[in-house]
Symmetry: C4
Subunit: 207 residues, 4 copies
């Protein structure tokens, strides 16, 4: 287990700096995790309030299944409970959370519907298990909250109600997505952020 | 022939990383090829499902005229048949396929018309054989499909109906363009993506 | 005191180049300062009319509480009085001023209201002292002027009227924000610029 | 004179690569020049059809007052006559020409008016000789043409009619601006491109 930590921490830091360049994790927003082991559950996770453009491997903590820090300095992200919920319910190997302009706009615009569907785009095929652009992806929107236990329960409910969802939005907050490993989770971020931008801009561009 | 492969593979990888920075090939989308020889036909082509921001020369395969891999590991892109169709019908030396936000929006908005024209822009002069901004470029839109043989036939039909076209759009999918060599194909991507952005934004900006 | 100057100057230059990449300080616009000491008051501040993409540590001056240069070549920014006003009234350790597209558009659109509020976004939590997205941030808009003494008084008035504000806009000019240190001020720039972009785009995207 | 050429060529190449990153000179578009000497008139100018993201010092030619090449390989830009016209009528030390999305959109939208004014923005103060945001800058729009002698005359007419203009737009083509040296010309590009983006987006953002 220990041997996986330095490599995963470096990979998380690299993903972080790339997302920062795209403006998806400005102002210390966003947090990222990857599973180090399942039995017992151990996560590598970004520490709280770090500049994501300068994230380095030593800003990554190792935590246990309760979110307690086993290795590394600093506090784990306030949203650690959400990461743990996704890992448990989806068997994810990595969980990535971004704050983009378009996720903020669309999560607010469709909040009353509890989510929205994305359908007919080739880019959807990059989501794990999707083999055609005719796929209909439902992206749940969860009302934001500062009560992390309550928010974690809302996330768990949404994940159970939508077993096929590849991600979800927190309203006026951002995107959560995941994958069996960090590369897949990164791919899912790029795909969903791309599709959010397409949906956001198309209303403007042509009517 | 062998001597051309390492250089072309490195050049394809360099183009790929540049397009990734612009957000044109997110989420492992997009694929790129260049002709190594014509008799027999040999292509250097990106392998499937690679992160285009980390594409390296060893992610490039050598394939024959049937799309079978002669050198390199991994599967060739699922859209290899489209690359081969463009090479054969246009005599192209390189074929580049990008997934941009604006190509997704415009290929959908004008799908019922089967394409749209771009006219009057100086940037059009960068397209091979175009010597004035008064040029009228028709950009065909082809309905997307997961049946690659059928999609390849649709592409061939479009290329034959529009012998002057410098590229085409797959609906809600992306842009294909090509050139006599990689530099010309890259230039065509930049020109067409630029013009798509102009057309997409102008509806919004001023009315 | 002298020992802090080289490090702060290098940090200011690094922040400057990052903001330039994002297009927030084009055309030599923008200016940045950080407090070297409070008794007596000493500021490190960018010299006037420097390309912010090429800002180096030796473009940073040391000034006293009147804005007179103690160390370094060049003139201090014409807006030095505004920096000094923020430092005095807010106890700020760093003051950053950017010129973004969205701050120009929104500071003009809401000028008649004297400002606008931003409410309900998770990103607000990155502002110092804010612990919930339910926070309502009022961003004052101050009419622009070339009379720096008058503009400094307008800024002081706005800061006194809105003791909780984390920044303000100069109309058709740009954003001022600050923090207890440079890292916090940089975070505040990113957060407020992000939120300005969200507000600016949402009018367009969905209606 | 010779001693200035290598340095100016390197500086032009550096400016070029920066503008390419911003998407202002895609697809080999754009061209840049700087004066090497006035008596006799000698210009360093980009050669035609070079990828501006890979522009190197050896893609820069030295030409005389007729546009004939004195040093370097390749053809000078087709728009060399326009550069020479600006140098002669404005006494410019550098002339920069970009093709941005917003210059294409706005030069078309306001073509019937022959130009448009930009007024009230602090960013205007970065234009040489402008000391207040209350400045009113008229940006002439010139109908595009492939007849370079005719286009050069149109440019000369516009420059004479508007002796205070800091730049002009060619319709559906791009921006020309200049400065006493390359640094000033680069600053003018950034300022005018910024202001074009503000004007273009504000119609969309808020109405």
């Amino acid at each position: 287990m220990k041997s996986k930590f330095p490599k995963l921490a470096a990979d998380l830091a690299s993903v972080s700096r790339g997302f920062y360049q795209r403006g998806w994790v400005l102002g210390t927003s966003g947090n990222f995790s990857a599973v180090l082991s399942r039995e017992p559950l151990r996560l590598a996770i970004t520490s709280s309030s770090v500049d994501k453009g300068e994230l380095a491997a030593d800003h990554i903590l190792q935590i246990d299944e309760s979110g307690d820090v086993l290795e590394g300095g600093g506090r784990p992200s306030a949203e650690t409970l959400l990461h743990l919920a996704v890992v448990r319910l989806r068997g994810a190997g990595a969980v990535l959370h971004t704050h983009s302009v378009w996720s903020n706009i669309l999560s607010d615009a469709y909040a009353a519907d509890g989510g929205f569907s994305i359908e007919g785009y080739e880019m959807l095929k990059g989501l794990e298990g999707v083999s055609t652009h005719e796929h209909r992806e439902w992206l749940p929107i969860i009302e934001n909250s500062q009560d992390m236990s309550r928010l974690a329960r809302s996330v768990e409910d949404a994940l159970r109600r939508r077993p096929d969802a590849h991600g979800f939005l927190l309203r006026r907050h951002g995107l959560y997505t995941w994958g069996k490993d960090l590369a897949e989770a990164k791919r899912h971020v790029e795909i969903l952020e791309f599709l959010l931008e397409v949906l956001g801009r198309k209303h403007c561009a042509l009517k």
